[in-house]
Symmetry: C2
Subunit: 208 residues, 2 copies
Amino acid sequence: MKLNKKVKEMEGAEQKIIAAARRIFQRKGMAGARMEEIANEAGINKALLHYYFRSKEKLFQVVMTEAKMQMLGRLHPILGSEASLFEKIEKFVESYISFISLNPFLPGFILHEINRHPEEMVKMMLSNDKRPNLNKFFLQVESEIRKKNIIAIQPEQLFINMLSMCVFPFVARPLLQGVMNVSDKKFSLMIEARKKEIPKFIINAIKR
Amino acid sequence: MKLNKKVKEMEGAEQKIIAAARRIFQRKGMAGARMEEIANEAGINKALLHYYFRSKEKLFQVVMTEAKMQMLGRLHPILGSEASLFEKIEKFVESYISFISLNPFLPGFILHEINRHPEEMVKMMLSNDKRPNLNKFFLQVESEIRKKNIIAIQPEQLFINMLSMCVFPFVARPLLQGVMNVSDKKFSLMIEARKKEIPKFIINAIKR
DNA sequence: TCATGGTTTAACCAAATGGTTAATTGTGCA
DNA sequence: TGCACAATTAACCATTTGGTTAAACCATGA
């Protein structure tokens, strides 16, 4: 092995391929992506893709696994923490939107592929190492309800609402901009503002 | 022309094709759909697809145009009506969720394809006949804010929140069910409940 | 009844596409 | 220096896929 070949360049090809595959797969989906396109994007020959990753499916799995880990891995650390409910909501929204802002095509990619093969995808997603645990969060919501700190709401509904408001704007960005007639710039500002607006909105909605 | 051949069967083939194309395109997207698959689904020969619709692209446009009209056409009638703001929110959520419940793959389909060709899709979407007009709704929100009936909120943010909570659960259904460990049955019930829960949630959030 | 023209199909075609192969290049080590 | 082996590529292959064609089918109206 050529471990001495400057390490950064050592995995240069492999990393370049994954980065390229990420970009292409995320924008076009598994079915819409072309192996040659990924090769070009990575600045290498098509055969080299198959040298590193045996098939399109394999390469796709790498990108998808990574994507799911990033999207789901962020749930537990925050929602399972010891923070208060309101703090948790603030932290979660802020952190989730920040992350997606850096990977705006990630949610759409995952959602599309999951709809294409729901069974396998979800199975793979859950079995795969640590399934995000929302129990702590759910129990906390119920506890706050009992203590009359917030109104009665199904914890699952609250979670869906929170996630919806964080993720949907990215999935529907071009549509929303079109319908509301909003420039790229303004939309980005609105996204930024949502980091504070959504928690305010949610807390208002459930606070007694 | 054989206008005498029982009219219902007259457009039988064409309608069967569109229905089949709808199902396939909505689940797999333009790139993932196969013309032969659509033909089979419609119970006809592949060549007949090209007889009625010249190309995959043409057939896709038919399905997509119809889809966009259904999704966007519902915005204006309700949000542009004369109802009060709270009534409007209740009506909109109820009606939108009801509609999507009947076409659960529609939103994911549109969103995926729009991300694939943002420019053209949005252009086509807006130029195409009547662009949904949210002005009335936005003005109404601002008016209610001035009257101190609701808290200060950017109308666009309110709109995004409302739409997110309505649509996202459908786009992310398998994922949400997996993460929250919820059965099909229970999830459907939760969706049904959201018709009332979302308006309550929103109104709580903005009411003074 | 049979000619006409819309409808439907089987067979076919060319381009695209995922994947393979064999040869070439490059690099570290003995 | 040159060998062994990893990295890289051009050329190639088989299959899939959107699309075409020519023939068959079938309802209608003269």
